[in-house]
């Protein structure tokens, strides 16, 4: 366990009596793509909400030495926690560049805010490259497609230089090869950062997860490698299902898509 790990211990979230998360503990480290899965309503999003300060929680969530719980949202972000949302939210009226520039802004001194932007910062160019949005620099974010918006969100996290990326269903609505491209992007990102992904796409999980935590009814049901988890009968019962397993099996039987098609969706 390094200094830069995200360690969540005994997290509790309650909504007027309803226990959405009831004592969840997990940890995530740089270099791994960590998956958080579980049935609908298991509390995955709520866990992310708690860590990012959106939901009030008890217990502990630490990034290295620092306790996250109890701080206001923007302070938590400044500690290096970034997230995306189950429904993409970018600034529709601003261009892709402006979106990224704002995301990159938190490191700048506040007086610099009063100056105009000159040129494109290197970190932004890199992020654009990584996410394949380079061609959309001047496009208002509002008219990007759903998937492009999700990439833009990831790009915003990159320029934000977040140490922890909490991604809530980042590939929802993407086609297979777009999923692949996103997965590979996450693997590259994870080399230096903590990446925690919430997903229902089991195929996607199988291909890109290093470790998996399964939540069920606000509690950790199972934890381990993809194989461990898939083999867990309880996980099969509440989440994967036998019928589901059949369909997903059928689908993974479909030939792997050609790699490196990311540039392909600029149509």
């Amino acid at each position: 366990m390094t200094d830069d790990s995200l360690v969540v211990t005994d997290l509790h979230v309650e909504f007027s009596g309803f226990v959405a998360v009831g004592g969840v503990s997990f940890d995530a480290h740089p270099g791994e793509v960590r998956f958080l899965i579980g049935p609908n309503g298991a509390g995955k999003t709520t866990c992310i909400d708690a860590v990012t300060g959106l939901a009030k929680a008890t217990g502990s969530a630490r990034l290295g030495e620092r306790e996250l719980l109890g701080r206001p949202v923007h302070k938590i972000v400044r500690l290096g926690i970034g997230r995306t949302f189950q429904t993409a939210s970018v600034f529709d009226e601003l261009t892709v560049l402006q979106n990224l520039d704002i995301a990159a802004g938190r490191h700048r001194p506040s007086v610099s805010l009063l100056r105009a932007r000159r040129g494109v910062e290197e970190s932004i160019e890199q992020a654009l490259e990584e996410t394949g949005l380079a061609g959309e620099l001047a496009t208002p974010a509002g008219i990007l497609s759903h998937g492009q918006k999700q990439w833009l969100e990831i790009a915003m996290l990159l320029v934000q230089d977040a140490k922890v990326l909490l991604l809530d269903e980042p590939v929802a609505g993407m086609s297979q090869d777009e999923r692949t491209a996103t997965g590979e992007l996450l693997q590259r990102i994870a080399a230096k950062r903590i990446v925690l992904v919430v997903e229902h796409d089991m195929d996607f999980m199988r291909r890109f997860a290093t470790r998996v935590t399964v939540l069920h009814q606000g509690k950790v049901l199972s934890q381990g490698t993809v194989a461990d988890v898939q083999a867990d009968p309880r996980v099969q019962e509440v989440y994967l299902g036998t019928a589901g397993a059949a369909t997903t099996a059928a689908m993974s039987a479909v030939p792997e898509p050609v790699a490196g098609t990311r540039q392909g969706q600029e149509d």
Partner: protein, 364 residues
């Protein structure tokens, strides 16, 4: 958001400055120059509203409050300057023996007055904005609250006749920091100061709009919560815009006093505050020149149409609100862009959803 080239806007400000500072004094009669000075004061406040509302999404319906701070600070000073050692005449009747109210005393000093014109709105807007934005008051709530504040202040002033002159307001100023106000040369000077301040305000927002702060402000307007997750506190972003707009309103109010020669609670109440908004909406809330030009146009309309056809002016004003907001949500200043876009390839034109975010604000 398609942005005009910065140098284009800057030269626009230059042309505007020449028109206001050099051409207008040459071609206008004293009366119309004085009126233009009055419009400039409204325009200064309007520039601030454009910043807070157009860019920041905060519909400030109570700018009259800040207009009042500047105006009454200035008016109290000028009243005392005129009264000399005596107690201002209007105070005498209600209580001939009582001294000058405590809060009037410091306004004898010119320096204090100027400081107050700047600091009072900054402090009040700072406090109010901090409290409101931290508690995430926005949208219609914010609009109605600020308007209620303006009404409350206007009522308070109306009802404190001895302290503030009440509904009659303060008027009949003879001097302006030592200069005799009746002297046409000094009147010209006062006008030039107001016009120059308008140019300064335009330059200030020009720089703000092209700065990163301008982008951040738009981002906050459109998705306040999202901004939080980028590590900014949106309350602070809005606060800065709100305070700057309050300061501008106060400056406009302060100059209104020597130019018009009277300030009354009616200039700060609900109707006056809404009229300021009308100008901004007419000109184009999010544009650089729109608010100022719109405010001047409304002022001019009031002066000239109000004379030739007073009942008609009310109908025209009403219709103006309806037609502009309904068909030109981005104001008259969006007309050129619309024509240009119509000529360009249709696909280039994004459909700006100007107030989609507001929908949530009102309802959530």
């Amino acid at each position: 958001m398609t942005k005009p080239k910065p140098w284009l806007s800057l030269s626009g400000i230059g042309v505007f400055a020449v028109l206001l500072l050099a051409v207008a004094p040459l071609v206008l009669t004293d009366h119309w120059l004085n009126n233009l000075g009055k419009y400039c004061c409204w325009a200064i406040a309007a520039v601030g509203i454009g910043l807070a509302w157009g860019r920041g999404g905060m519909l400030v319906m109570g700018q009259g409050v800040f207009f009042a701070l500047g105006a009454y600070a200035m008016a109290m000073h000028l009243t005392l300057e005129t009264a000399g050692d005596r107690i201002p005449g209007f105070m005498v009747l209600y209580d001939p023996l009582a001294p000058l109210p405590m809060f009037w005393e410091p306004f004898r000093s010119a320096g204090f007055t100027l400081l107050a014109i700047v600091l009072l709105p900054v402090l009040l807007a700072g406090l109010l904005g901090y409290a409101l934005f931290k508690r995430r008051v926005k949208g219609a709530y914010f609009a109605i609250l600020t308007q209620a504040l303006a009404v409350a202040l206007a009522t308070l002033i109306s009802s404190t006749i001895r302290e503030t002159g009440g509904d009659t307001g303060l008027s009949d100023f003879k001097y302006f920091f030592g200069f005799v106000l009746n002297d046409p040369a000094n009147k010209l000077m006062v006008y030039l100061i107001a016009a120059a301040l308008l140019i300064v305000c335009l330059l200030a927002v020009w720089q703000l709009y092209r700065s990163r702060f301008g982008e951040l402000l738009v981002a906050t307007r459109d998705a306040e919560e999202r901004v939080r997750f980028l590590g900014y506190d949106p309350a602070n972003v809005k606060l800065v815009a709100f305070v700057v707009s309050a300061l501008m309103a106060s400056i406009g109010g302060a100059m209104f006093v020597p130019i018009v020669g009277i300030i009354t609670p009616a200039e700060i109440g609900a109707a006056a505050s809404v009229l300021m908004i009308a100008g901004v909406a007419l000109g184009g809330r999010a544009s650089l020149f729109g608010p100022a030009l719109g405010a001047m146009a409304v002022g001019w309309g009031q002066s000239s149409l109000g004379s030739t056809w007073p009942e008609g002016w009310t109908y025209i004003l009403g219709l103006l609100f309806i037609v502009v907001i309904l068909f030109l949500p981005n104001g008259l200043s969006s007309l050129p862009a619309r024509f240009a876009a119509a000529r360009r390839r249709p696909a280039e034109q994004p459909a700006p959803a100007i107030a989609v975010a507001e929908l949530e604000e009102v309802r959530s």
